[in-house]
């Protein structure tokens, strides 16, 4: 049960930190018949979008 709990926590942390985002993006792009960006381009474009508008408060 503890191992299961730890696995759930780890899975949650991976999801929260965005480690699954690229895989999910590729899946969605494939479903739409589009060729996805490379992992590097996806990462850079995501950072560009995140930090081009208020993202960290006082």
């Amino acid at each position: 049960m503890i191992i299961q709990l730890l696995k759930s926590v780890w899975s949650f942390l991976r999801e929260a930190s965005g480690e699954n985002d690229y895989q999910r993006y590729c899946t969605r792009a494939g479903a739409r018949g589009e060729s996805p960006l490379s992992a590097d381009d996806f990462y850079l474009s995501r950072l560009e979008r995140k930090y081009s508008r208020p993202s960290r408060c006082c």
Binding site: E15, F42, S45, R49, K50, P54, R56, C57
Partner: protein, 688 residues
């Protein structure tokens, strides 16, 4: 609701009432912090369960059958239906900055009671509502920003005002948080070394994430945490080294310049190299430390040594001038109500919400968590003896430049403290001195160190805990500084692009450098003015920040009220009008006093007149050097500049409010058709 649930909530209400009663009647002996925390938690629980539910379903009409933009427009990039709790974590990390930590520490000069009541009541009825409704209205408009909603729902003028207000707030906010870092690190080789280690550590993580292990955020952050902790622990050896300590010891002016240069360089470097990795680190450490602080307070259940009310409710406080009303409500912004949150709430989060009902948990709930962080910060302030608290937080201009003068002044106020006790405290936390360490961060760090070190018997690690707390605060402040400078640059480029299109291109590097320099120059100017202010920069800059932040909250609530009228929810207008009316009263009163009060400690113009008279007299008598005369002239200019900025912000509030009231009148009397600009309603296919 079942009878058992009703009984449970009744018991929560009774427990909260008992805790409030104990706080109200406590006299003499220090009250245990557990009572404060219990009262706060009960009020939050009741607020979330009943008030947020009322706002969600009676006022706003949340509907899970309706598809959110994350579902309708899902593209895997911007619009992604996201797990509620993952998004809760993201949103909380975005809104929880230094504000709820620093504001309560400063406001504790009035005692713990006024600040705590404002944090809890203001949060439940004001801040949580503002965040919630802004998030929901943006959600219904496919994630439109506050400025876009202001243009669409109020008027074009409202939109431009919001844009200008955001830019002004950004500059002041960055100057203020930079000042907090300067005061936390001045004359502190240990602290400076720790922060210096963060920069190469973050760059290493950036390179690791980009080239070595792309996407492995957790392991990169873990490595970064180890490097940062090595800096925290290694700082002791630097501080004790006669060779290295001087290399990491800086005055406040020198530190201000270092931060200005750092702010410029970090904002023009690619985000992946420094900002993003430091942001990951800061987020994990921030969330972990807040959790640890909550657990620490529960385990240590410290007595609150600061009284519920101090003598400084009369407005003569050393940390900042002004009475409880309005300045307690200006000083504590982010823990109670913060306009800046409306920018975050109308940013990325609305595009990620999977179901409309999640907006209640995320919008209302996250702000409630932040409000609770403010309560914990207040507890951390109160574990210090009043004498220590005032010795750390009072500027030299208020208590005297020497330890002997400071302790004599503070003891004379009825808060006994000796120079030896302060020296012992500084030694225990590994600092050269803790006198005049204004800005809130050092006293918060001392309070946190005492709480952590009294938990699990780790008293020997008090210095490590102190510097860990300094590192934790400085880490996310530097992230705010970097991210804020970039956003300011983007906004400035957007504005200048109308005049010179090339400057509007975010990939034209000369434009990036120029606009970054302008933004850094703007906040750098206020920062330098703050570090040179003999009354302590916090006395002038923090109220400016509070007023500007509450201005933005006023704009957000004006927009929200307008939308509620358009939705036909006139009977529920009190939900937004009540906090709006309160904020307008507070910001107008504070603005008036900061500009025109005849008290030179309070009013900018009175202080400028005092300095001007002193300068004239000294020049006429030939008793002042040219350099000193130039310095005083600069202080006079800064006072007048601060007064001008305050007036401009106050005028903006009045203009937006007047425009909003005009729109409300038009809608109320049918002179204008109430057209909502919501996205079309579609049925949701996602499971509840």
């Amino acid at each position: 609701m079942s009878a058992l649930k009703r009984l449970s909530w009744f018991l929560v209400a009774v427990l909260g009432a008992i805790a409030l009663g104990v706080i109200a009647v406590a006299r003499g002996e220090p009250l245990n912090a557990v009572w404060l925390v219990t009262a706060a938690v009960c009020i939050y629980a009741l607020g979330y369960r009943f008030y947020s539910r009322f706002v969600a379903y009676r006022v706003l009409g949340l509907d899970d059958a309706r598809a959110t933009p994350a579902e309708r427009l899902e593209d895997g990039c911007d619009f992604i239906p996201t797990n509620k709790w993952v998004l809760f974590g993201h949103h909380f990390a975005a809104i929880a900055g230094p504000g709820p930590l620093v504001g309560p520490i400063l406001a504790a000069q009035f005692g713990y009671l006024p600040g705590t009541l404002w944090i809890v009541i203001g949060g439940v009825l004001g801040g949580c509502v503002q965040d919630f409704v802004t998030l929901f209205f943006s959600l219904r408009r496919d994630g439109r920003s506050l400025g876009q909603m202001a243009k669409a729902e109020v008027s074009e003028f409202g939109g431009w005002t919001a844009l200008f207000a955001v830019l002004a707030i950004m500059v002041i906010l960055i100057a203020v948080v930079a000042l907090v870092v300067v005061n936390a690190l001045k004359s502190s080789p240990w602290g400076m070394f720790t922060i210096a280690v963060i920069i190469p550590a973050a760059c290493l993580i950036g390179l690791y994430l980009r080239y070595l292990r792309p996407g492995r955020v957790l392991e990169a952050s873990g490595l970064g945490f180890m490097l940062v902790m090595a800096g925290v622990i290694g700082g002791r050896y630097v501080a004790e080294s006669p060779h290295w300590a001087p290399a990491f010891t800086y005055t406040s002016v020198a530190l201000a310049w270092i931060i200005i240069v750092y702010g410029f360089v970090s904002s023009v470097l690619p985000a992946w190299l420094l900002l993003a990795p430091r942001d990951y680190l800061a987020t994990f450490i921030k969330l972990g430390t807040i959790l640890a602080l909550g657990v620490g307070i529960l385990l240590a259940h410290p007595p609150m040594l600061l009284p519920p009310l101090t003598r400084f409710t009369d407005g003569t406080g050393p940390i900042f001038a002004g009475k409880v009303f309005p300045f307690c409500f200006i000083t504590i912004a982010c823990g109670a109500i913060s306009g800046f949150h409306s920018l975050i709430a109308s940013g990325t989060t609305p595009k990620l919400i999977a179901k409309e009902s999640h907006a209640r948990t995320i919008g209302y709930g996250c702000m409630m968590m932040e409000s609770f962080v403010g309560v914990m910060a207040m507890v951390a302030a109160t574990v210090l003896r009043p004498g220590f608290y005032f010795a750390v937080n009072s500027p030299a201009g208020a208590v005297g430049a020497t330890p002997e003068a400071a302790v004599a002044t503070i003891s004379g106020w009825g808060y006994p403290v000796t120079a030896q006790e302060m020296a012992d405290l500084a030694h225990r936390v590994g600092e050269i001195t803790l006198f005049n360490r204004t800005g809130g961060a050092p006293s918060l760090a001392v309070g946190m160190a005492q709480i952590f070190s009294h938990t699990l018997g780790m008293g020997r690690l008090e210095a490590i805990w102190y510097h860990f707390a300094i590192m934790f605060e400085a880490l996310f402040i530097l992230t705010v500084l970097d991210a804020g400078t970039r956003v300011g640059r983007f906004m400035l480029q957007e504005l200048l692009g109308h005049v010179a299109p090339r400057l509007g291109r975010t990939n034209w590097y000369p434009g990036v450098v120029l606009t970054s320099a302008l933004i850094v120059g703007a906040w750098g100017y206020f920062l330098l003015g703050g570090v040179r202010d003999p009354l302590g920069g916090i006395n002038s800059l923090w109220p400016l920040f509070g007023i500007s932040n509450q201005l933005l909250a006023t704009i957000a609530l004006c927009i929200a009220t307008t939308i509620l009228i358009k939705m036909g929810r006139q009977r529920y207008l009190g939900v937004t009008l009540a906090p709006l009316a309160w904020l307008v009263t507070v910001t107008m009163t504070a603005s008036y006093q900061k500009v025109w009060s005849p008290n030179p400690r309070l009013g900018f113009l009175a202080h400028a007149r005092l300095l001007s008279d002193q300068l004239s007299g000294s020049v006429a008598a030939g008793t002042i050097s040219a350099a000193r005369a130039a310095e005083i002239s600069r202080l006079i200019f800064n006072d007048r500049l601060d007064a001008t900025v305050t007036l401009i912000l106050a005028v903006l509030v009045v203009l937006v409010l007047a425009e909003s009231v005009r729109q409300w009148w038009l809608y109320a009397f049918g002179r204008k058709q109430a057209l909502l600009t919501e996205a079309p309603a579609e049925l949701s296919r996602l499971p509840a």
